[in-house]
């Protein structure tokens, strides 16, 4: 028995890598479906807040990420955009990360035509603006000063949906899809706490625990954390074949493998310690 524990404690890490790879590859190739149950979670709070907005509300969606975090954040963007379009809201897209503007364009244009939403009437992409928190603070006083033109150099005054929009007080909700700094924290600090505009968002799983503190204090109306949050929103919106929902099957199997290794590692450690051999 002691030999098994010794072998397990000295297990070649490459075997673990192979098992994790198989745990991801097999569910994808076999189209394994594991149902995604959405409980009373922050993702439902965000969905219900968007649902409660009156038709025609103006929502800023800030695409604060780049391709390195696309697997987690792009499905969120698509599900949120689809929900906003479906409920008849108007979207002002922008980005605090340079490549976010292109990714936002992809997400908005993907659903606009099929849902009958017209550019400059129902949605607009203002593009990327550097500055992070400083930019958001300036949006609180004059959005036109920050974005004199949209991403395609169309002047602010020539965009019909922006008539009557002056600053953050005219915005019904800000949704930041954030991969880090600048991102949700800056929107909470500036848009919510300084100007009182409701803020919700989605983030990579790594940063989710840090942002949970803003939920309890009502500084955020809801939060999508990582792929699970994206899958939750897809489920709530009715996108049952969404990228995140499909990704949750390999994710879940990989988690089971990791949990098994955690258990095996702990059992091995304590058994060796019991025999006086643990280092």
């Amino acid at each position: 028995m002691a030999g098994i524990y010794d072998k397990l404690s000295n297990l070649d890490r490459r075997i673990i890598f192979i098992l994790i790879a198989l745990a991801v590859i097999i569910p994808i190739t076999t189209d394994l479906v594991i149902p995604n149950i959405v409980g009373q979670e922050p993702s439902r709070d965000l969905f219900e807040f968007v649902d409660s907005l009156p038709e025609g509300s103006i929502v800023i969606v800030s695409f604060d990420y780049d391709p390195s975090t696309m697997p987690e954040l792009q499905p969120m963007a698509e599900a949120i955009v689809r929900h906003l379009f479906r409920d008849g809201h108007r979207i002002i897209g922008m980005a605090l990360w340079p490549q976010g503007a292109s990714l936002g364009q992809d997400a908005m244009s993907a659903f606009a035509d099929s849902l009958g939403r017209a550019q400059y009437v129902d949605w607009v992409n203002m593009g990327y603006k550097t500055g992070g928190a400083v930019t958001i603070a300036r949006l609180g006083t004059s959005m036109r000063a920050v974005f004199p033109t949209d991403r395609d150099n169309v002047p602010w005054d020539d965009i019909p949906m922006l008539r009557g929009v002056n600053n953050l007080e005219d915005i019904d909700l800000v949704i930041s899809l954030s991969a880090g700094d600048p991102g949700i924290i800056h929107w909470v600090m500036m848009a919510k706490d300084r100007y009182g505009t409701p803020v919700g968002g989605g983030c990579t799983a790594v940063s989710a625990p840090q942002l949970y503190t803003y939920l309890q204090t009502d500084q955020m109306v809801g939060l999508l954390g990582g792929l699970k949050g994206a899958a939750d929103y897809e489920t709530l919106v009715g996108l049952l074949e969404g990228e995140a929902t499909k990704g949750m099957s390999p994710q879940s199997v990989a988690h089971i493998v990791i949990m098994l290794f955690i258990v095996i590692g702990n059992v091995t450690y304590f058994m060796q310690k019991k025999k006086g051999g643990a280092r």
């Binding site: 994790i20 697997p71 625990p209 503190t213 390999p250």
Partner: protein, 217 residues
């Protein structure tokens, strides 16, 4: 030439090169690593020039309508000061630019950061415990005990013995649970990225192999 195919193959090969490090360090991994760093640096340089410098500085200094807005020379001079770090004799000039950045950041964040991340969080822990159902009361108690014991763990002016030590032990346990949750989320993030790459390899790259060799459609 089908550039989409070239893009998919480049993406697939660099992905495989990078994952080859999991077996052991090798020249393919080194190549992909250097390619990534070099391309990132080049990409960001060009992106910054055309998306930050030109629209936010150059176009404002020399607007389309004509004229010269000399006030925009000031940030330009500060930007040049930043580059002075590369010349030891005048490196001190960069401190003016840094002082401007740090001063603006501190001034902007001082009140807002304190309000959002300290006052609001403290306020969030001041509430009536005995409200709502049993689960709500239990949840509130966990929050109160967690906050107090967590703070006691970081109180180093008194030896962690007796009552203080026992409270600190509860605090470190609560902290470990929090770190465990963070670890779980980190794993989820990394696996999500792996799922994204594997999906790309299986659904975008693999189907191109038969096409490349003229097999199938």
């Amino acid at each position: 030439m089908n550039w989409d195919m070239v893009g998919i193959w480049l993406g697939a090969l660099t992905t495989l090169f990078l994952y080859s490090f999991l077996y052991r360090d090798n020249p393919f991994y080194k190549f992909a690593e250097h390619l990534f760093v070099g391309m990132s640096a080049g990409y960001w340089l060009i992106y910054s020039v055309f998306n930050v410098l030109i629209p936010n500085w150059w176009d404002r200094m020399l607007p389309e309508g004509g004229g010269f807005q000399w006030v925009w020379l000031i940030p330009g001079v500060f930007a040049v000061f930043m580059l002075a770090r590369m010349v030891p004799k005048i490196a001190g000039l960069s401190r003016f630019a840094l002082a401007m950045i740090v001063g603006t950041g501190a001034g902007l964040n001082m009140v807002t950061f304190f309000q959002s991340n300290a006052l609001a969080q403290v306020k969030g822990t001041i509430f009536s415990v005995a409200t709502g159902g049993v689960w709500s009361v239990f949840s509130s108690l966990v929050l109160v005990v967690g906050v107090v014991s967590g703070l006691v763990y970081f109180f180093f002016s008194k030896a962690h013995t007796g009552m203080t030590g026992r409270t600190a032990s509860v605090g470190i346990t609560i902290l470990m649970v929090a770190f465990g949750a963070s670890f779980g989320y980190t794993i989820m993030a990394r696996i999500s990225l792996l799922v994204g790459r594997v999906t790309f390899l299986l659904e975008d790259w693999l189907p191109t192999i038969p096409r490349l060799f003229g097999i199938g459609g």
